[in-house]
Amino acid sequence: MSWVLALPLVIPFLTAVLAFLTRQSPLGRWISVVGSAVLLAASIVLMNVVLRDGVIAGQMGGWSAPFGITLVADLLSAVMVVITAIVALAVSIYAIADVDEGMERLGYHALFNMLIAGVVGAFITGDLFNLYVWFEVMLIASFGLLVLGGRPEQIDGGVKYVALNLVSTIMFLTGIGLLYGMTGTLNMADLASAVDNADQRILTLVAVLFMIAFGVKAAVFPLFFWLPASYHTPAFAVSAVFAGLLTKVGVYALLRIFTLIFDHDTAFTHTILLWVAGLTMVVGVLGAAAQSDMRKILSFHIVSQIGYMIMGLALLTPLAIVGAVFYLVHHIVVKANLFLIAGVAQRIAGGTKLSRIGGLYKSAPLLAVLFVVPAFSLAGFPPLSGFWAKFLLVKAALDVQGWIIAGIALVVGLLTIYSMTKIWAQAFWEPHPDGIEPKLSNLSSRNRAAMLVPISGLAALTVIIGVMPEPFVRFAEASAAQLLDPTPYIEAVLGVQP
């Protein structure tokens, strides 16, 4: 059982090691692709086991919980791992076209797979300090990837990204220290009950500390600055995987600990979260409205969309959590894809600045179709995945008379439409300012395949989720049920308590 859990973590590390040793040859990139494919297979196995057996836990090193480190997968963890593997596979294929040999020789594939390993680790660990470790793996790998290539704006973005994320990391570490000092344990399932014996006032303070630490990771208001400052600077393959996965790890962590551990004063903590959610949505979307570069727009939209997920967590009703989970999954697929598409646009039209490009609709209709799917999904148009995500959350808000937050969610949706159509109008509809025809056939056939296959795959996934939402909604429901009643989680980790 425990190997089902361990493999998704081990595979990317092995891939990274092998890819690094072969970094001087083209073999490296194929190892990366194969490794991601194997990871996907392993994560699907994991998902199947979780679907069959419920929450599963594995005690690493054979030391029983809470003494050793436990890996746990409930439905949320499992689906996050699967979706991570999907994005990893898509991006490693895309990287064949997007990542140049210089970057490969400097270890791009190793860094990338380590990043994935960190993300997977964060999703399946059941230990708070171990979560910190995976956060760091992810963070430092992201540092490397962000500045790989070394262009000045990358360095500039990197400085801000690094500085702010380091602050968050320190807060997280401090929080762990404090929580350990109160409870004497690090195992999250164990913490769930151990915190009941602690001074609840201090617990609230520590909860706020964690909220801030993870808030920075998740890029919520007013802690998101690092994201728009940096996400438009690295290689497209890199920013796609960042956009898809990194902030979601923060959201995941918030979802996890604010349902499992810090549920003692939801009237306070989750009210704060609700405010944060609303402000994040609004500020993010307005930020996007102010931009005129494709990747900058998309970056600000990440912020805005994070607000929706936090909104789900903040409302804390079953339906709201369903919405948050659904949103999480949907957004990873869609956002990663939009960045990948921006990469293609950059390749064939010569940039991502909207005023400098154009004509894609006329000359690259396939790309236009592929853009419309995730873009309109992001904007929440039915019958694409984003519609259901938004629908669930708005319904959840209206169900508890959360008029204001529902209103915000809807208005922000409208402004999202505005941004997406801005990209559409200026990059796709408007003729190219230099009069060139940005055709997909300008790409070499290998690059075309490497770029369009993952984009099409992710777009297809968006459509599938949108048209056949039932299995996904049911899944999100089951997952939300596990989050809201963590008893199975705790029992899987600690064994059934008498």
Binding site: V10, F13, L14, V17, Q59, G61
Partner: protein, 139 residues
């Protein structure tokens, strides 16, 4: 650094640090020490080497690229963890073999845990040298 004293001193110190670092690593399971401390100490030896004689000589003495050492270390540590699979145990479960164990003496212990610590050593050693050498060369 064209200091005769430093160069000569380094000749002794670098070797000493390296030997000492192995010692620190191997005893780590029972006394203060371990892979980190060992790796840090060993790296210090080569950092000194690089400062005294230049990175060119230091790299030549090392023979292998430091980043390769580091990644091998990671691979070894991972292998030590995966080793448990052969015995149907969980990832990173320690596997022990006591050579010449008797009733009251455990004999000479060989273990996957030690292999893991060696991996840690190599990672720390290789990584620090990767950074320091590159910095020395770029600045």
């Amino acid at each position: 650094m064209n200091s005769v004293i430093l160069r000569v001193g380094t000749r002794y110190l670098a070797g000493l640090l390296l030997v000492f670092s192995f010692y620190m690593m191997l005893r780590g399971h029972n006394e203060p020490g371990g892979g980190f401390i060992g790796g840090l100490t060993g790296a210090t030896g080569f950092v000194l080497y690089a400062i005294a004689c230049g990175t060119h000589d230091a790299r030549a003495a090392l023979r292998v690229l430091p980043q390769t050492i580091a990644i091998w270390g990671l691979g070894i540590a991972l292998t030590a963890g995966l080793f448990a699979a052969l015995f149907g145990d969980d990832l990173f479960t320690g596997q022990w073999l006591f050579i010449g164990a008797t009733e009251d003496d455990k004999g000479l212990p060989l273990s996957s845990v030690l292999v893991f610590d060696i991996g840690v050593y190599l990672v720390v050693f290789g990584s620090i040298l990767t950074i320091v050498f590159a910095m020395e060369e770029e600045i």
